[in-house]
C-alpha cells in the first residue's frame, strides 16, 4: 500500500443505514456491513443516542470546519 492509497475503511461512513420493521422487531441495514436487529425500545434508545452524538460531533467538528 502506498500513501496515496485510500481505503474505504479509512474514514467514517458518509451514508446512513436503513431501518425497517419486521415481525415486531426493528432491523437496521448498513451503513456498510452493519446488520442489527433490535426491539422497538432498543431502536428508539439507539436513535436518540445517535441524534445526540451527531449533535455533539457537529459541535466538535465545527471550529475545525471553519479553519
Amino acid at each position: 500500500m502506498t500513501m496515496s492509497d485510500e481505503h474505504k475503511n479509512a474514514g467514517p461512513f458518509t451514508e446512513g443505514g436503513h431501518a425497517v420493521a419486521e415481525q415486531g422487531v426493528v432491523l437496521l441495514e448498513g451503513p456498510d456491513g452493519i446488520a442489527a436487529a433490535m426491539t422497538a425500545d432498543a431502536a428508539e434508545q439507539t436513535g436518540e443516542s445517535l441524534i445526540a452524538a451527531a449533535q455533539e460531533a457537529r459541535r466538535q467538528a465545527g471550529p475545525v470546519a471553519r479553519d
Binding site: 425497517v20 419486521e22 415481525q23 422487531v25 432491523l27 441495514e29 448498513g30 456498510d32 456491513g33 452493519i34 446488520a35 436487529a37
Partner: protein
Amino acid sequence: MTAPATDALSMNAMDLFLRGRTVTLTDAERAALARSISEVRRVPARTTLVDRGERLHHSTMLVDGLMTRYIDDLEGGRQVVAFHVAGDFVDLHGYPLQTLDHSIMGLTDVTIGLVPHDAIDRLIEQDAQLGRKLWFSTLLDAAIHREWLFRLGRLDAIGRVAHFMVETEARLAAVGLSDGRSFVLPITQTDLAEIVGLTPIHVNRVLRTLREEHICTFRSSRVDIADHPRLARLGQFDPTYLYLQAAGSDMIDTREP
C-alpha cells in the same frame, strides 16, 4: 450408533476428500487414508460430537450429512465458525493442536469416519507427500475462515446470506451434491442465522427478498438458485479461496472491477 469400519464406507469417505481441489489424492493415498479409518459412526442430528477444550485422540471425516464448528457465548448465543459437507475433515487441525477451540455438531444425521491420531502419525512418517496434502486441507480450512471473516466484517445482511449460498453451492458441487443450480440444504433459518451472524427474523426477511427478486429460493430444505451471477455479486463471491479445479463459467470473480 457405531459400526466397524468397512472398506466400502471408508473408501467412499476418502473418495470425496479433496475432490475437485487444486491438490488431490492419488489412488494409493486415498486407499491409505481409507485404511486408517478405525470406525464408522452414524450419529443423530443435533449431537455435539466434540466439546470445546476436549482432548482429541482422533480426527473426524464427514462421510455424509452436514456439520458445523461453533462457539457459544456466555448468554447462550451461538456463532457457527465453520460449515462442513461430505468429504471434509471436520477437525484435522485437532491432530497437531490436540484440543479444539470450538465445538463440533451435526446439523443433520451424519455418517462419520474416525481416524486415530496415531494412524495419522504413521501415514505422515511413511508418506511426506500425503502429509503435505493433509496440511493443504487444514490450510483450505484457514482460507475459508478468512473468507468468513470478510463475509461477517464487510457484507450486509443480504450479502452474507448470498455469499453463504454461493459458497455452499460451490462446495457441494465439488463433491457431486449440487447440479450448479439446486441443492439439498436441510438446515433451519436459525442455523442460517447462526452462520451469518444475524437474527432469524433478519434472515427470514433476506430470504424473502431473495425469493421476491427471483434470485434464490430456500424452502423445504432445498435451495434453488435462479440467478447465480446476481447472487454471486450480492455476496461479492470470489471462489479463489476454495482452491477448486477448473472453475466453471459461474465461478466469476465478482470482486474484479
